[in-house]
Amino acid sequence: MLVLRKLARDIPALAGLLIVLFVAAVALAGPWLAPHPGDISASHLLQRLKPPSPAFPFGTDNLGRDLLSRVILGARGALEVALVVVGAAMAVGVPLGLIAGYSTGWLSEIVMRITDVFLALPQLILALALAQLMSPSLESAMLALAITYWPFFTRIVYAETRRLRTALFVDALQGIGAGTPRILLAHILPNAISPIIVRATIGLGFTILVAAVLGFLGMGATPPDPDWGLTISQSRTYLPRAWWYATFPGLAILVTVLGFNLLGDGLRDILDPRLRRSR
């Protein structure tokens, strides 16, 4: 509750929260909100490439499909990809960070060196290469993105666990004979949750962005999926005449990612008192 009250006073962060809630609502209610929900796969060749008008506020694409409907229907896919990727990256990265941070010696060294190597590789190129090697599809793209994103969580959780490992309350727990899993999961993890939440929020925005790039380059969603990146890629043949075709899906990406980033940035300032001074 304290977090919410502080969030309400931080205008950019509040704007971020509202955007995220709005996009989530659109994603959930997409099929009911979209004026032409059938336009996921239908085509109406008589109304190809119509500019924005009251009937089609975002115009129509080269198959005569309503772009507003497709932008709305694309929100669900974008959020699904982001949630699955970040969830999978957390499921791998957080336990590794806990183990590497709590243990000493070779186990910790090996985990962290592997993490460093992954962090030193360019995510986008690694994801593109992996997606291609696993034969291009939305599933490959998601797996590739998860493989490139887990090290961020490992790094953060490792640092927090290292810091807490020598804390007095951990000493006390060890003294009364608490088991390692219990110390890690019930006591250290809850103390490390703030930076994880911040990283996950920013990660959701980042993943939507990279997934859009994969879709744009033909390494992600496949037609007739209303994926935003894929739509922009399809629009390139019809420029400059059909300016609306590329513009609106891009704005959807921009607004969504902006929402997650503003929220993540605001949460970092609120949840992490050590960083607050630098603001």
Partner: protein
Amino acid sequence: MLRFMLRRVLLALPSLFGLLVITFLLIRVVPADPAAALAGDNATPEQIARIRHQYGFDRPLVAQFGLYIVDVAHLDFGESQYSSRPVARDIAERLPATLELTVSALLIGIVLGVPLGVVAAVHHNRWPDFLLRVLSIGGIAVAAFWFAIMLQLLFAMQLEWLPLRGRISDGMIAPAGPTGFLLVDSLLAGRIDAFRDALRHLALPAITLSLGGLATITRFTRAGVLETMQKDFVLYERAVGYPRRRLIWLYVLRNSVVATVTQIGLLFGGLIAGAVVVESIFDWPGIGDYTVQAILTADYKVMLAVTLLIGVIYAVVNIITDLLHGLIDPRLWDQL
């Protein structure tokens, strides 16, 4: 200082070794049949068998890894399917174009980002700060490929102020020079027409690529300046009535740039990766465009070489950044 450098280079070695292991696993273990993958889609079974033997896929994995390291050490990445030329030669020819683009983008980011960061810090928590905060987060949130298309749409297609794609106009003969940077080489050759043409071609891709860096530099400069403003010497100077503008732009800024320098180093690696998308949209004949072609045509040798190259650039830039850091603040030398 020598010890510091040596240690720093030694510390990078395990990472580079890990890079070799990962790229090796990527190309040899992830695809079901690496020989078939390397041979391409139209290969006959005999060709696949020959490649399997030629690359040593019929030998134990450790022996294969040894062969792989020997190849990499000789910069021998084989021949590109896409251009049917040695991959190393393609890369050497395309690298200057990418460096010219990334360095330009970085310069735009620094020249605009540092002053904007100072302005945001000076107006802390008032409207210029809020505006710049939203803009700098927006700079990271915008999809570069979309922004590039929007710039093309407006400045190249509608207004026709700038060229749509490429590095130099078709009829123009690019001046050959020692640096491979068209802007520098054309000036050295005294070709003002070529310089103007190259600059016009560079503008849109460089602006697109600079966005993310500009946002990051603005944010770190702002944070650095805010922290320095809390220092006692600033309070003293203000108390004795030292001109505020001079104080901020000269003394506060100079004491605030350390963190920004680190970020600029980190950014450079990111810019090279960002160039992948930007180059492919603007048909910029660099490494990024080459990478996209390689990925779309499943040209594994090129993918491998490019991933290694970018990994090495990351490592080298990290070392240089640490050295710069040490030069700015010699106390750090003892810490490593």
